[in-house]
């Protein structure tokens, strides 16, 4: 059954350029614990990436997009879409994507839109870009997953809600650094995490976020995709799953039959936190930074609400020629300045000024 539901475009497509972005600041989880638990108890990650005062989803998307364009070596005017997936768009009404498109020089002959589906908004945009290119409607389409995630002070998610993401330029297979052999989506109405209009912080269903939400959807999408393309975990050199913390992606990898080495290069959450819409995509850029031609990659996102998009990728020779044309994901992760909780509250606009 899942073979019929494999989402495969008519024309072969792939990722022709990729770019990551992680802001400079890091909040150690121990700082959050110091503030709210007296420093006792375990923490879900080591530290998370925090955007500076002058950064938001627009500025971060612009940098990731510029990196993707540097690697793709195309004229931005040739991209027929600029799509930004996020749950932290700076405006409630006014697209982030038009500002990004203007800044990278893609306007005016392009599509632009903002996408939202909790943490999988970026991979939704990626699937749409695959369809845009794969149907012949566009030569290239840019998909971005980027967030400056909101964590309620004192809440469990404050340890992990982070800033960062990646841009993936989709184009014809002949120019690809990684071919996309197909994708698969798996979605149900699951109220594990939400944020109502005008609310500053999200709410969540505590333990409900695990089994019926994250694990069910990632397993559902991953297993159906692998069945549809006739592959098993052993056929993939690398895998990357959405990373709300350090534990979940490692556990789902094990449940699916992947070894720790297969997810190691893309497992970034211990060092940058959960970058929400950016999480799976920046895990992929970290893998592309080390992958070799011929490597197969399984990529599975997860967005609360809930659903997963799974992708089957294969690295090409072209990757080696363009990898060095923009800063690696690791370069951004290594560029780190530790901040304390007080600085964090200022950077994230949590101080009452009047």
């Amino acid at each position: 059954m899942s073979k019929d539901k494999l989402m495969k475009p008519q024309k072969p497509v792939g990722i022709v350029g990729y770019g990551a972005y992680v802001p400079r600041y890091r909040l150690p989880a121990s700082e959050v614990a110091r503030m709210w638990t007296g420093g006792s108890g375990g923490v879900p990650i080591q530290e998370k990436a925090v955007n500076g005062l002058d950064e938001d989803v627009v500025t971060m998307s612009i940098e990731a997009a510029r990196n993707a364009l540097k690697r793709a070596r195309i004229n931005p005017q040739d991209s027929r879409a600029v799509w930004v997936g996020s749950e932290s768009h700076p405006y409630a009404v006014k697209p982030s994507s038009t500002i990004v498109a203007e800044a990278i020089g893609a306007v005016p002959h392009t599509q632009a839109a903002d996408w939202e589906f909790a943490c999988k908004a970026g991979t939704e945009a990626m699937q749409a870009a695959i369809a845009f290119v794969g149907s012949g409607m566009a030569q290239y389409a840019l998909s971005i997953g980027m967030d400056t995630a909101q964590g309620r002070p004192g809440d469990a998610l404050e340890y992990t809600a982070a800033a960062g993401g990646a841009a993936l330029l989709i184009g014809p297979a002949a120019e690809a650094v990684a071919l996309i052999h197909g994708s698969y989506s798996f979605v149900t109405d699951t109220p594990d995490f939400w944020r109502r209009a005008h609310a500053n912080y999200p709410s969540h269903g505590d333990r409900f976020t695990g089994e019926p939400a994250y694990f069910k959807h990632i397993m559902g999408a991953a297993q159906a995709l692998m069945e549809a393309v006739g592959r098993t975990p052993a056929d993939y050199q690398w895998a990357v799953f959405h990373q709300p913390n350090a534990k979940f992606p490692q556990r789902v990898a094990k449940m699916l039959g992947f070894a720790p080495e297969q997810i190691a290069p893309g497992l970034l959450s211990p060092r940058i936190g959960n970058t929400y819409s950016g999480s799976t995509m920046i895990g992929l850029t970290a893998i592309l930074d080390v992958a070799e031609p011929g490597d197969r990659i399984l990529m599975v996102s997860y967005g609360s609400g809930a659903g997963s998009d799974a992708f089957d990728l294969e690295v090409t020779e072209r990757l080696l020629a363009v990898r060095h044309l923009a800063p690696s994901t690791e370069t951004y992760i290594s560029r780190r300045t530790v901040i304390d909780y007080a600085t964090y509250t200022r950077f994230r606009d949590k101080l009452k000024m009047s």
């Binding site: 400079r24 500076g52 005062l53 002058d54 950064e55 938001d56 627009v58 500025t59 612009i62 940098e63 700076p90 405006y91 500002i99 203007e102 800044a103 990278i104 020089g105 800063p327 370069t331 951004y332 290594s334 560029r335 300045t337 000024m353």
Partner: protein, 135 residues
């Protein structure tokens, strides 16, 4: 509200778009349509690489309206590799790191907002070149 003024300037501010002189080849920023060197018309748009070095700098503690929430911050004269000097904020940098001749690169950042409900104004700033920042 000065939405139209910001809109007119956004191309040059977002991506450092200036002009180049067809007659003598000089690159101009900001765009001004007449070459400063040979006085010929200069209307060909040119997107600067954004690579340059710090020519001079200072730190702002008493900021003008709209920038109060970001003090202290640094302002610098940046000597672009194509020639022009540009005044801009520095970002992603600690005061004690900055020196004359420091290699920097352009990034597009939030400059300020028009209050709680107004537009968000984006534009160029400069930061230490990322590839060298981690070494």
């Amino acid at each position: 509200m000065e939405v139209s003024r910001h809109w007119r300037l956004q191309t040059q501010r977002y991506s450092l778009v200036g002009e180049t002189c067809d007659t003598c080849g000089v690159k101009l920023f900001p765009p001004r349509d007449v070459c400063l060197e040979c006085e010929a018309p200069a209307k060909e748009l040119y997107t600067f690489t954004g690579v340059g070095e710090i020519f001079s700098y200072t730190t702002i503690y008493e900021a003008p309206a709209g920038f109060e929430h970001t003090t202290p911050y640094m302002i610098a004269l940046i000597k672009l590799e194509e020639g022009p000097l540009v005044t801009a904020q520095l970002t992603d940098v600690d005061q004690e790191e900055v020196y004359v001749g420091m290699p920097v690169e352009m990034v597009t950042r939030k400059l300020r907002t028009e209050g709680e409900e107004g537009v968000i104004i984006y534009g160029y700033k400069f930061r230490p070149a990322v590839e060298t920042a981690v070494q």
